[in-house]
Symmetry: C2
Subunit: 369 residues, 2 copies
């Protein structure tokens, strides 16, 4: 009650007067050590501060751009409007140069080292928060890919019980990031370990291994099947069959998922496609939709096989504001017309990490049961 | 031969003419995907490019500052002098604001997300390069520290053979970063996994677990002994005795190492102190030298015990240009006076990651034999 009144009071004040008055400010989880900015203000607003004494114009770019105000000491500040809960990429634009905020940790997204802000979830929503439960771990594993002709890295989540016994074998979810990101997306921005640790502790998800590979690939299907899966199945205690193997991905990773499971349905019985869908027109980037009509034809010709093979065929979308909404809607229409069964989950938030965390939360509960 | 002639030719050319002529340029390992800069030129010089159309002054800060030159398209470039091999932090300064380079991956160092450049080692020096050998992995593990009253993260390297058998137990090296860094320092900048994978494959180092904890701690000795060690010894297959336990650290981590092993010598038989030494005067920051005289007295009074207990007491230094050189020299003098035995290794390079990688390379070969 005290907080929400305070939030209303803050909203009534001018932006420039706020830094001095925000006694309820909390430093962002992703501020670098010893930095007091960025910080969260009541009402899910965020305040930013950078030092740029000789700059002429500084803006904060959170998707929407905010002008930052110069102070006599050479610092610039701004306060945002109310922001949705979860992870947001952002940048600072200094005299036309887009940079990351020196006060923030960076996250590989948008093709660069982007700044990140974590807006707290509503009180009581502890799905994405560290809790006093047993914790798994995420391993960084390097390997040489003959498919890519290059050294690659994958991240592998193993559940809390993995190190406890030495004979138990686990099912595997292969989980792919989107464009402009890499294997760090799900591991860091996605909080995959936190989501799974919490669900496993609550017995809402089966203990599973989650493999987060680098999807920036010349041929993702081959990279997955010829490199990632053999390495994982050789290295970790894995039940290596389709019943115990899931593939999911977001955005670009969702299209890669669709392509791979249509080409090799015998390998996967659980499929997740988050904020994605084959291109609805012919403008798809290379590898993102060239074979779409071929895949539709294969699905249609083998409808019963696919409906039986995919125990889960789960599509999610970040509401109508998601840039992939139309592609997915057109694809769902095609599936409906040909009788391909799927589940569809929609949550507001657009084409963003809060939506994808939510997707993983719901999808992982369905798996391997 | 061709390369070095080309390097001489390049050095004779003006900086501004180079971007068009550097046909031997190689994009930096740490450039973000699709970026063509930073790039390495023959002669171990590096070329940088940023876009800042409205900036008035742009500099590259690699310790030494280079003025960047503006081009008509709003980009700024510069070429450095010859750089030493290995990892270097750097920044871009735009109109007085120090930022990371949008074209580079970032690395937590200097207390912020800093840009990083990897200058190739001389041909034939493959100690720090990915090779066709079995690979271990580095796990990110979260835990709640009662000592710190906070969630923390440690990185744990397990050797290639760790997942192969389920009963073999391993010795453990606890390895600490320096000030302004965290548990990512050794795992990422330090290439700990690459160094150990290569040494283990060559049978020059024993297969070992390496624990890289977060040294930003109110009480590192307690954090290590009450939190990190019990968690590691409970979770991984570890030989939990002093013979199979080493502690090492660089800079701030070296002082933390000294303090911990003097307070609890019974726990460690292998000690590494890289680019460090107790403060030689009374200006030590809190926790970095307050008990120094007490420790010297304990060492002196128990000289034979310590000389017997520390199978390895190994100090390294990045030459006279290392900012810790004098502190270490004074400390070595005190050790010599009281008859405390140690090994001392010096390599040029100053207070930098190339020196610390070199230190880990040599130190890890001595352990657990």
């Amino acid at each position: 009650m005290k907080r929400s009144l305070f939030a209303l009071l803050l909203m009534a004040l001018s932006t420039s007067a706020m830094p001095q008055t925000a006694s309820d400010a909390v430093v962002s989880d992703y501020a670098v050590r010893r930095s007091e900015y960025p910080r969260l203000l009541p009402g899910s607003r965020a305040e930013f501060k950078v030092k740029a004494p000789d700059a002429h114009k500084v803006q904060l770019d959170l998707g929407r751009k905010y002008d930052m105000k110069r102070h006599d000491d050479g610092t610039w500040t701004c306060v945002t409007d109310s922001l949705g809960p979860g992870f947001h990429y952002y940048f600072v634009e200094v005299d036309g140069m887009r940079v990351s905020d020196p006060a923030s940790e960076t996250f590989f997204g948008c093709g660069v080292a982007a700044s990140g802000l974590e807006v707290p979830y509503p009180e009581g929503d502890i799905r994405f928060a560290m809790a006093d439960v047993p914790h798994g771990e995420i391993a960084m594993r390097r390997y040489y890919s003959k498919v890519e002709g290059a050294w690659r890295r994958m991240f592998v989540y193993t559940p809390p019980c993995y190190h406890e016994s030495t004979d138990k074998k686990y099912p595997v979810l292969y989980l792919q990031h989107g464009g402009g990101e890499d294997e760090r997306g799900w591991a860091i921005q996605g909080k995959t370990d936190v989501i799974l640790d919490n669900l496993i502790a609550a017995k809402e998800a089966e203990p599973m291994i989650v493999v987060m590979a680098d999807g920036n690939s010349k041929d993702f299907t081959r990279e997955l099947i010829e490199e990632c899966m053999p390495l994982v199945e050789k290295t970790y205690r894995v039940v290596a069959d389709a019943d115990h193997r899931a593939l999911a991905g977001l955005s670009m990773g969702g299209i890669q998922t669709l392509n791979a499971v249509i080409e090799h349905p015998e390998l996967f019985r659980h499929v997740g496609v988050f904020s994605s869908g084959w291109w609805a027109n012919t403008n798809a980037p290379a590898g993102m939709g060239n074979n779409t009509e071929k895949y539709y034809a294969k699905l249609s010709a083998n409808k019963d096989y696919f409906n039986n093979q995919f125990k889960n065929f789960w599509l999610s979308m970040g509401g109508e504001e998601d840039i992939a909404f139309n592609n997915c809607k057109v694809m769902r229409g095609r599936f409906d017309d040909m009788g391909i069964k799927y589940d569809y989950f929609e949550t507001p938030g657009g084409h963003t990490w809060p939506v994808w965390r939510e997707s993983l939360y719901h999808f992982s509960k369905l798996l391997f049961k």
